[in-house]
């Protein structure tokens, strides 16, 4: 089987928290066997590096703030790339730090986790990803636009990633695996077939499987 992975799966796999999705990601990867794992070029070249860069900016803000209480959060150039949810995360990390008694340990942990996470993601791609598919320049603009229009929360990254999956499926059948039950839906994919031109171009649509529901077969 060829599995097309959503970006979140490698990140869950790299954690060591023991939560439900992390465990599922680990089971999924550990049962790779003869299955092939695919990631799209957009995720490996753009979306994951951007996510990692934003995590680095979060760490920068955190380190600056804990070292200097007068530091005005998000006043750095780095922080300009942060989204609202990143700023919320930064603030929550700082709140957590303020609450803890083991401040030194918290600082050591956060720096170690951010370093390890980045290294683990790179390692995961090298070790477990068999093929990087659909060069960014080959993403079908019309297909991407169609998905973007019908996504519940319009999101360019999701549209590009799902378009890559549909295009790759056209060459060689695959299954999409994601944990995003809200946005990555069968109904969304079917919207592609409401466009006659796209339906002709992509007569078959990939099946979506959710990490939450994954069982070892």
């Amino acid at each position: 089987m060829r599995y097309f992975l959503d970006m979140n799966l490698p990140i869950y796999f790299c954690m060591q928290l023991g939560n439900f999705l992390e465990k599922k990601a680990k089971i999924f990867v550990e049962n790779k066997k003869e299955h092939l794992f695919l990631l799209c070029d957009y995720v490996t070249s753009v979306n994951l590096p951007k996510w990692i860069k934003r995590q680095k900016a979060i760490l920068f803000e955190f380190n600056q703030k804990v070292q200097n209480i007068d530091y005005a959060l998000f006043s750095s150039e780095q922080s300009k790339i942060l989204f609202l949810q990143d700023k919320i995360l930064t603030n929550r990390l700082i709140l957590s730090y303020e609450k803890t008694k083991e401040k030194k340990q918290f600082i050591e942990n956060i720096n170690q986790i951010f370093s390890l996470l980045q290294a683990r993601i790179s390692y995961f791609i090298k070790k477990y990803i068999d093929t990087i598919v659909i060069p960014i320049s080959e993403i079908n603009f019309e297909l991407k636009s169609c998905l973007f229009t019908w996504l519940d929360a319009p999101n360019d990254s999701d549209a590009k990633t799902i378009a890559s999956a549909i295009q790759e499926h056209n060459h060689n059948k695959l299954i999409i695996i994601t944990s995003d039950k809200r946005d990555w839906t069968k109904e969304l994919l079917e919207e592609v077939h409401n466009n006659s031109k796209l339906k002709k171009e992509y007569p078959s649509l990939p099946r979506i499987e959710y990490l939450q529901d994954y069982r070892v077969s």
Partner: protein
Amino acid sequence: MATRKAPQQIKKEILDFLFEGPKGVNEIATKINSNWPTTNSYLEKLKEEGAVNEILITDKMKVYRRTDDPVYYSIPFSKDIRMKTLYILKEIEQKWKKEKMTKLSKTALQKIGVDVIKSCKLDLPVLNFHYGMTTCASFDSNNQSILSLIEEPEDKSEIINCIKKIFENKKHTGIAHEEKEYQYKKENMTFYSSKEKLTRLFLFLNKNKSANREVNLEIQKALLDLSLNFPLKLEKFYLDFENFTSNAQITLLNPDNSIQNLEIIKRTLDQLWDKLTTFTLFNDSEYFIDKEKKQLFEQIRELNLNFKEMDYKGYIEELESAAQETNPFEIKIPQDDSSKDIQKLILEGLENE
């Protein structure tokens, strides 16, 4: 009838003029009252003798400097700045020798020089460089040719008084590492203090030639300390810096980390430090550059920063390779409450993507 100057005299005139800073061939030709081809031929001869070299060559111009130019990177500060800074350094060295009967190390001389400039609020550059704050020039009392060119400034007595006061407060020991520590503490230079701690650990390692868990841990802590003290003014280098620290941390977290890997970390840090502090040196210099020398200054800056960048790339790639030898899944993420909180928050952020 005008007498023809001897070649030796012309060469000396050129060298004396270059003591004021790097100059283009045209500027030198005007100064020695000669034409471009003749001046160029003298410069070529001086270059063969090792007395000058080109600091900049473009399609339109060649800029020369003395090879023994005492100013760092031959930054085109005014003659007044160069002269006064060297005068201060010369006076400090002589006074120290006379009073303490010992020779000052170059680092200690710089630290006292900075103290004199700052305490007396002299309008001279104080630059953040490799070992903390320095003046804009390095002083070598064995270079008679330079020594003979240093003139007494108009505010000589004020400077002498200032040096006297600095000597009286007895804060300076003249020992390089103590002088560095004193300055870092006095000026609250925490980033430099953290780097100094790391340097000492690497020195210890160099002597003992064995990597063990304790040393690894100490270096990890010192690296974290360096990260926490990373100054905002160096922000444009943060991603480079973070790339270095995270790769170094991964290498250090490997229980089988070797002495060779520690040496790679040290070498990469040295290159990174060179790059960062060369940047700050030029940044701090900018304010003191005369308008007509700005373009030359920018060209020298760009050239040097590009060199540093090229040097650094090779080293960071070596460190990345060392880090990639480690399986990061074999390194366990701490399992205490704060670690869980942190991971939980990261995942909540991810779910909101």
